[in-house]
């Protein structure tokens, strides 16, 4: 049947985009290892990696730089980008709002507030944890406050997409105001630390950073992909979703809890990295359309690829490199506008 074959061809084209993104991530990851003060070529990095995997290390210094300094940053850039863009794709589709992303839920401003409190109050606030972990635990806890408020609200009142976005934005303003208040009272040293959290950075990443966010992201990502049909049906609106067998209230609460959890798991390590979660899914949508089965993996892979590239640029910018959050917005927004103007294909938005 010609019609069905046309549809299958369209699906194949979407998977080709997804596979290209995956391959580009691998190539870019090795390329990213060659970027930095210590001069190494793409092939040197490839050789160092192979030597490390086979246990036949000929240059311990290069091995240390590539495997223990640059590789964890590259891997974490992929995880963070993938999580933010996947979260953005789910939020936008489910709430039927092109401006929704994990940050409009107040997740990142919650993380910033938690970290800021930890920075200002120091070790005394949580004696059980050592320095970096106090900030991480506080950031994680505070970033889940908005979703907790939405869940509490849902017991009393009817939850709608608009209410969720408004609650998230209100929480974002409250958190930002308290952070401003803390910054007014903070010393110069703590002010600098809060600032670095605010702009988002991957520079402090080590292999120890990765296991917890990777585990949480993988579990949440698999669950979200498993729910792709429900997320897709939610695009039809709550009444239509209900009539197609999806409970809209339950679905919204489950998915935003999962998105908040996985976003909290990464932003508590990196601080606020903007742009990827909002615009990453829109760029993926231009190539694979809005159908969730393909949009979710495409957004995740494109987000990972984009943040990896942004991190490469961030590391060679300025004398000591620039925060990746700044670079992702500076490069990403013009790129997005250019794609919007030049793309001559079916519309992905109304």
């Amino acid at each position: 049947m010609a019609g069905k074959q046309d549809y299958y061809k369209m699906i194949h084209r979407k998977w080709i985009f997804i596979i290209i993104c995956a391959l580009l991530i691998l190539v870019t990851l090795i390329f990213s290892l060659s970027i930095g003060m210590y001069d190494l070529s793409f092939f040197d990095c490839y050789r160092v990696l192979i030597e490390h995997l086979t246990g036949n290390i000929t240059d311990p210094y290069a091995d240390d730089i590539v495997v223990f300094t640059r590789l964890p940053i590259g891997v974490f850039a992929i995880i963070v980008g993938a999580v933010l863009a996947l979260g953005g794709a789910v939020m936008q589709s489910m709430l039927r709002n092109p401006l929704a992303d994990p940050y409009t839920m107040g997740v990142s401003s919650g993380a910033l507030l938690g970290a800021s409190i930890a920075i200002v109050l120091g070790n005394g606030i949580m004696p059980l944890f050592s320095d970096p972990w106090i900030k991480i635990v506080m950031a994680f806890g505070f970033s889940l406050i908005p979703v907790a408020v939405i869940l509490m609200f849902s017991f009393k009142r009817r939850v709608t997409a608009t209410k969720i976005i408004l609650i998230g934005i209100a929480m974002m303003y409250i958190f930002s105001a308290v952070v401003q208040l803390l910054m007014i009272t903070a010393s110069e040293e703590t002010l600098a630390e809060i600032y670095s959290w605010r702009v988002g950075t991957l520079a402090l990443t080590t292999w120890d950073t990765i296991p917890i966010p990777l585990f949480i992201s993988l579990v949440c990502g698999v669950v979200l992909f498993y729910h792709h049909r429900s997320i897709n049906v939610m695009m039809a609106g709550p009444n239509s979703a209900h009539s197609m067998g999806v409970d809209p209230k339950r679905t919204i609460l489950i998915e935003i809890t999962i998105v908040s959890l996985m976003t909290a798991a990464v932003v508590c390590f990196t601080g606020t990295i903007g742009f990827v979660g909002l615009v990453g899914p829109h760029i993926a949508r231009l190539f694979v359309g809005s159908e969730s089965k393909h949009l979710l993996p495409a957004s995740a892979l494109f987000g990972g690829l984009f943040l990896l590239l942004a991190n490469c640029v961030a590391r060679v910018s300025g004398e000591y490199g620039l925060p990746v959050g700044v670079i992702s917005a500076i490069i990403g927004c013009p790129l997005f506008i250019m794609i919007l103007i030049r793309m001559r294909r079916k519309s992905a938005w109304k």
Partner: protein, 274 residues
Amino acid sequence: MRLVIDGIEFGYSSTPVLKDITLDANGPQLLSIIGPNGVGKSTLIHCINRILSPNKGTVMIDGETVNDISLKDLAKKVGYVPYSANDTFPLSVVDTVLMGRHPHATYKSLDKDLDIVYSTLRLLDIEDLAMRNFDELSAGQHQKVMLARGLVQEPEILLLDEPTSNLDIKHQMEVTRLLRDLSQEKNILVIMISHDLNIAAKYSDTMIMLHGGSIYAIGTPSEVITKENIKAVYDVESEVIESHGRPHLIMLDSDFDDVEHTLPADTYAVKEKR
């Protein structure tokens, strides 16, 4: 299939919308719900597919209370075509219609689901639109795509909220005729809300006229569309003539009484029947 509504009442806060609605609809037919704005037509169909839960009374499908049926199983029995489609992120026509297969879908069912989608698109004569984006279509094509999405649920009861709104006369007739034919071909009970009384009367098997949240009249189009009922429910003067065995409503307005003499002689045929 048999739909039994037994004394349902529904209200928002202290404002009652539906009052003691009782109905027994059996077998394949096109049933139209008519009535003025805000009378509870959409609320009634939302109570049938459990989007809203009545404060009192029960809705039963084939002897089973809808509250006792899981949402997914209910979606296999009752399809719904909304008043307007949400297309913030427009999908292709195939993907839009494929959504309707959600209650039946499994991880291995795509090929079978696509067969059902394409055969429904063929039935509605819109197969050529299959790969187009939903937002590129005209209002009439939108309506047919939404109808296709409801049909691929393979429901026993199909609810439609003003399916002919925004359509020109030709498309209004085409869609309503299609609904009547589908009710017989697919053996389903089609319940539609309509504001066009003449088109509803022309094609419906049964009509329900709502007034003040209650059923004011129920029966064949000839029993429901009478000038007395129209006056009582819509507060509009009218004449009802018969056309091809169906009632046809003509609105009267006293503002135009003085222009009668300017109309051609055969225009008075209707008035002379008074």
